[in-house]
Symmetry: C2
Amino acid sequence: MIDHPAIASAAPAPLRDQGAPAAPAGPAPSSPLEGGGVTSAKGFRAAGVHAGFRKNPERFDLALVVADEPCACAAVFTKNVFCSAPVSVSREYLGAAAGEPAYGTARAVVVNSGNANAATGERGLETARTSARLTAEVVGCAQEEVMVASTGVIGEHLSLEPFEAGLPVAHAALSAAGGADAARAIMTTDTRPKEAAVSFDGSDIGYPGCIFTVGGMAKGSGMIMPNMATMISVITTDAPVLSDVLHHALTEAVNNSFNKVTVDSDTSTNDSCFLFANGAAAPAGVQSFAPGSPALAAFQQALNAVCQNLARQMAADGEGATRLVTVNVTGAANQADADAAARAVANSPLVKTAVYGHDANWGRVAMAIGKSGAVFRQEEAAIDILGLPVCRKGLTVPFDEDEALRRFEAPEIIIDVDLGAGDAGSTMWTCDFSHDYVTINGDYRS
Amino acid sequence: MIDHPAIASAAPAPLRDQGAPAAPAGPAPSSPLEGGGVTSAKGFRAAGVHAGFRKNPERFDLALVVADEPCACAAVFTKNVFCSAPVSVSREYLGAAAGEPAYGTARAVVVNSGNANAATGERGLETARTSARLTAEVVGCAQEEVMVASTGVIGEHLSLEPFEAGLPVAHAALSAAGGADAARAIMTTDTRPKEAAVSFDGSDIGYPGCIFTVGGMAKGSGMIMPNMATMISVITTDAPVLSDVLHHALTEAVNNSFNKVTVDSDTSTNDSCFLFANGAAAPAGVQSFAPGSPALAAFQQALNAVCQNLARQMAADGEGATRLVTVNVTGAANQADADAAARAVANSPLVKTAVYGHDANWGRVAMAIGKSGAVFRQEEAAIDILGLPVCRKGLTVPFDEDEALRRFEAPEIIIDVDLGAGDAGSTMWTCDFSHDYVTINGDYRS
């Protein structure tokens, strides 16, 4: 317990109104679609089935998402040197070397769970290519128009039989309501499927009468850390966006969503995020959203909203998580410092165990920002936990511990830090660190 | 379980003979002193007492180490911006600004546990200075000849009463056998005191008839990460070394010991390592160990041995640890890559929970080196776990899982990684990640 004389009668004001979003307010043209997902946009169908990658017949393990027509596709992948075979093959089909922007034309994406097809060498690459060929055969497209992704255990060879058995079943099950099944099929240690979708009106942005939709699914859980996560996400849109523009938009959205999530500071071998755009919500032949246009800005905002929604779901469902933790840093000297400070807090096992213990132990937050490399003076630092001022000018602020315990009942634990060194800010999402994290990861293979 | 066809009849040879040390063999002039510690060197006395920083009267919470005469002193401190008041004051007494080499003359060091005196502002600095003055009064030296250190909870004001009450008791208890009590008094969540000492013969290095000793104590546990750790260490030697040379030697030793230990990737506000040298084992007026001399090389070797011994004890006693984990990386393109790869493995919660689960899950080791930023090709990587080859050329090697489980019973889990990219190597020490880590850190303040 903090030994403080008495609750000060004039407590400092919180750093931020807890009801307000951390991001600066702006136009919000997009509306969330309740229950929406990867098939909310026009012209996309999906399915999730049990194909046999997993032993439990109740568990879906193969997801297929198919566009009615070949369409623009952009992707971002893990930067891990030990990248998986499907990451290499998907990059190859988009004509991109490692590190190069990956975009082009595609028709479908096939995802299996249960086996990551990582650290499997030349044989793993052949398996990934064959799975694309098998998918192309049922869909009726070119092999190179199929994106592939895998998630699960590393270092074991992936069997082709479940693809052979499951792909015809999945293809037969494809439907415009299949997004939910697909979202379940890509889960590993996720405890719930993750879907989100928003729509926006084209009337005021040069596309009168058009309603555009962006929707997607994701899986996350452990090994979630910028660049990127054991994270696979498939997003679709019926907006008309060319593939190079699409890649730019996807990179920006990922940097401000999936790359701002950390569960355990580990980075996966398999992280992949695919974005398909078919233009199906616009009349045929209409101009694609141009760089700098209000239409592209509205699309970016919608895409950001979907990615941030999925990212927050991933953090909240981190392995063993009992709470979503949102870390807002303001007052940094520059963006790099803001990101480093927010990441240090979000990655700190000591902060994360304190949240699990419902302990407003701001000393651990101070420790984390202090080691982050961000430039600031401790005499200027301020910290709020759950809207309670706990540190001002680097010093402890007496606070009502009972009130803090009450606030820790909230599903989202917000930590606000003001470094007092400038105007830059950053938000990171993570989860608390519980006994269950250790259980899940100590027993994963057994 | 890894699905492999059969145990290969010609299994690859292990990367390293498990009986051999990771470091290159060299002359080993120093001999360990069983039961030795901070008072093993001539001319130093110490005591540990209960002064009242903690409520439990059974628990020592004040350590005092005193040299019979003023002597050379060097120190290295945390780089955390939120450094504690005693860190600032000790640096001030050695005449060093933050980041400057800290060395000079000192007589004593006083350490309290239970309260870190960090994030306590000007009042905390005054408290630290007053504790130095009170110590100087009982010891009979200048206030500036007293080094101060604190460890415990951050953000609470440190009371002076226990210093006033405890220092006379500690001073009366000072003895050349008091190292063990002092080592107990600096513990926080440590489960056992940490001491080590070695001696070396001066006969062949220009100091005939002299036996020199280096001994010390440390506390570690959570928040242990390079630069540096919730780590306080006091080391003494009766070798004659001038303070600037001493600082150089200490920096080298710390970089290859305490800075190679990680428990949870967090860095403390209070890390301090002090080294005192009084020359008491050499005749009066003898020349101090000169840079480049065999004597200084022997001293450095002895100091490294003490620091590495203490560092390994710290890792093995990490919060909730059940196993010491030693990560050896070889074949890196350069030293920075070797350190980064070793650190990534040692810091990975997924690797650490796998060790806790006795799971030779080398995919997680591959993931960690892959994300580390070290340059290598996955086709060249090799991994052994406990001397069992589990990965060669980036691919899985069939191994006997029962044999692996047997080997996991060892107190030290050795992970060897060869990146196949060059000649540089690095060793890091850590511990596994258990349910108890979460319990200890979720409930720390309650």
